[in-house]
């Protein structure tokens, strides 16, 4: 079927797809352009001159909010959530390769973690901490709240990976005398490494952008999305767009770097096999 001429259906669908991509990226490029608004420019087009005034403004002391501090907190939290998500999902993925009592229930608990509305998780953890007399902070309660969102993704990806994983390689390693740790470290881990990096990317970006779950759990100090949300209601200058541009470029960098690592691994493996 791959040798026919392109049909009308193809061109119609391709046009639809192009529109969809425009729909996804168009508004983002609007704020990208507007963040270079001149010092006297407003929140909408046209551009009133071109400047980096609003980017400079971003790094000055703000009347509202603390951009640098909230970025540092979100970044650190993202890394913590990433490391935990990768480790816990990998272990759970390994566990689910065998039958164990309560396995099905744990699987459904992970699914439930995806479907429970985020604001309910936020409220529940907030109330739980206050009843226990604990002070909510971004690295305790917000950390746990983020994990309820990132772990189900990690666990499901690990399910899919191990479902397609042939036990033949492990058996071969064992037959050659490898211990179970050696089998894991030298056979299983290298094979699943690209997927684990993918899980890490999910863990980091989902946490870095998470907002609803942080609402009641961040405590005294805001994370970056909370800061931005606060700005949407009381900031009326393009500094908001500058912040949007900077965080979006940061996300793009993280995604590109991750893809680069995955591609690099694949290339190295290809060369080793050749």
């Amino acid at each position: 079927m791959h040798h026919e001429k392109r049909t009308f259906e193809f061109y119609a669908l391709a046009a639809f797809f192009a529109l969809f991509v425009l729909f996804l990226y168009g508004p983002l490029s609007a704020i990208l352009i507007l963040s270079f608004q001149g010092p006297d420019g407003g929140l909408t087009f046209p551009l009133n001159g071109v400047s980096t005034h609003w980017f400079a403004n971003l790094f000055e002391r703000q009347a509202v909010g603390d951009f640098g501090g909230s970025f540092r907190r979100s970044f650190t939290l993202g890394l913590l959530v990433m490391a935990t998500t990768v480790t816990v999902s990998l272990l759970a993925g390994l566990a689910f390769r065998r039958r164990f009592r309560g396995g099905t229930a744990l699987f459904y608990l992970s699914i439930a973690s995806l479907v429970v509305p985020s604001i309910i998780v936020s409220l529940g953890i907030g109330v739980l901490f206050s009843q226990l007399g604990l002070q909510p902070t971004w690295f305790t309660s917000a950390f746990g709240a983020h994990l309820t969102w990132t772990l189900p993704f990690g666990v499901l990806i690990m399910f899919a990976v191990f479902n397609r994983f042939s036990p033949v390689y492990e058996e071969a390693a064992r037959d050659l005398g490898a211990t179970s740790w050696q089998t894991f470290a030298h056979v299983v881990l290298p094979i699943i490494l690209p997927s684990l990096i993918g899980v890490g990317l999910f863990g980091f970006t989902l946490s870095y952008d998470e907002f609803a779950r942080t609402l009641l759990t961040a405590g005294t100090f805001n994370t970056l999305p909370l800061e931005i949300y606060g700005m949407t209601t009381n900031v009326t200058t393009p500094v908001l767009y500058a912040l949007g541009t900077v965080t979006t470029l940061f996300s793009f960098l993280v995604i590109l770097a991750t893809l680069g690592i995955i591609l690099g691994l694949a290339r190295r493996r290809g060369r080793a096999a050749a």
């Binding site: 079927m1 639809f16 973690s113 529940g124 058996e171 989902l206 931005i228 949007g244 979006t248 996300s251």
Partner: protein
């Protein structure tokens, strides 16, 4: 990176034979491996939900909560016309956004899976769709403001071309803006699972249908669509639960003119009316779980994946 659901039983069946040799020690291993996941979800999901259920029966005033067993948090919530209107409004958003994301998501996934010929190109285009999903929702939401606003791009174009005399007011801060932003934010949750199931369809089935004389439309309707159901169901679960839980899109894009259940909860929380918010949370949770259960009845994901 595609998200796939897999039935745990099929994974159990793949249990390697040599594991049986060292039964005694190996028995404990899966339990140890599953413990961190269980502990985290237990502490940060199960216990908080139980806590919400308990608190929803407590009394409260402007400053604090008082343990007890009162039911007025529920009777007040369910007895109010405003609550019912808010629930209906939220369900309306869910239905519209679901229908739109399903149509767009299926079309995009179908194009990627069946009309893009090289695997490399498929992956590149799929990533193009996925990348915005990994950036901030709030930024993506506010990026509509310069596009839809009174002096925004759309209005400038409309006025400039003479199509309308004055800027269209309902583009921003309206139900239209809320639905548009939700479709923008959530369509990817539909594309990914549908693309995943479409890629798994055995191409021989389509060849067979064509050999048997089926037209393109018949193949789409009678072969591909039924086989895509599990992906559509998973996407539906994502989109419906995300819309039902949404408060930020409704708040920002409607400019405070529309309400959703989660936004009502958020307002109660900012007034420190936690027991009232908790009662709403219980009702919302039951509603969402019923919806998910209904979707799982239509399509048995465990069986079909």
């Amino acid at each position: 990176m595609a998200v796939a659901l897999d039935q745990p039983d099929t994974i159990d069946a793949a249990s390697p034979a040599p594991a049986r040799r060292r039964r005694g020690r190996a028995e404990a291993v899966p339990y140890l491996q599953a413990t961190p996941l269980f502990l985290i979800l237990g502490v940060f999901l199960l216990v908080p939900i139980v806590m919400i259920a308990v608190v929803s029966f407590w009394d409260y005033d402007f400053a604090q909560m008082y343990p007890g067993f009162v039911t007025f948090n529920y009777t007040e919530t369910l007895g109010s016309w405003v609550t019912w209107k808010t629930y209906l409004n939220t369900l309306k958003y869910a239905a519209i956004v679901w229908a739109l994301t399903l149509t767009i998501g299926f079309t995009v996934a179908y194009f990627l899976a069946f009309h893009v010929r090289s695997t490399a190109m498929q992956m590149v285009l799929f990533l193009v769709c996925t990348v915005p999903f990994l950036t901030s929702n709030i930024i993506r939401m506010i990026s509509w403001i310069p596009v839809l606003g009174r002096n925004g791009l759309v209005n400038s174009a409309l006025v400039g071309s003479g199509l309308v005399a004055r800027p269209v007011e309902w583009l921003l801060y309206s139900d239209f803006a809320v639905v548009l932003a939700m479709v923008h934010l959530y369509t990817l949750f539909m594309v990914t699972p549908i693309f995943n199931t479409l890629m798994r369809i055995d191409r021989a089935l389509i060849e067979a249908a064509r050999d048997a004389g089926a037209s393109g439309r018949q193949i789409l309707w009678n072969v591909i669509l039924p086989l895509a159901k599990p992906g559509m169901a998973i996407g539906t679960i994502f989109v419906v639960t995300l819309v039902m839980a949404d408060f930020s899109t409704v708040q920002v894009m409607s400019g405070g003119q529309s309400a959703s259940v989660a936004l009502m909860m958020k307002n109660q929380m900012s007034l420190l009316q936690y027991p009232a918010a908790a009662a709403n949370a219980v009702v919302l949770l039951v509603l969402v779980l019923l919806l998910v259960a209904a979707i799982l009845r239509v399509v048995d994901i465990r069986k079909e994946l």
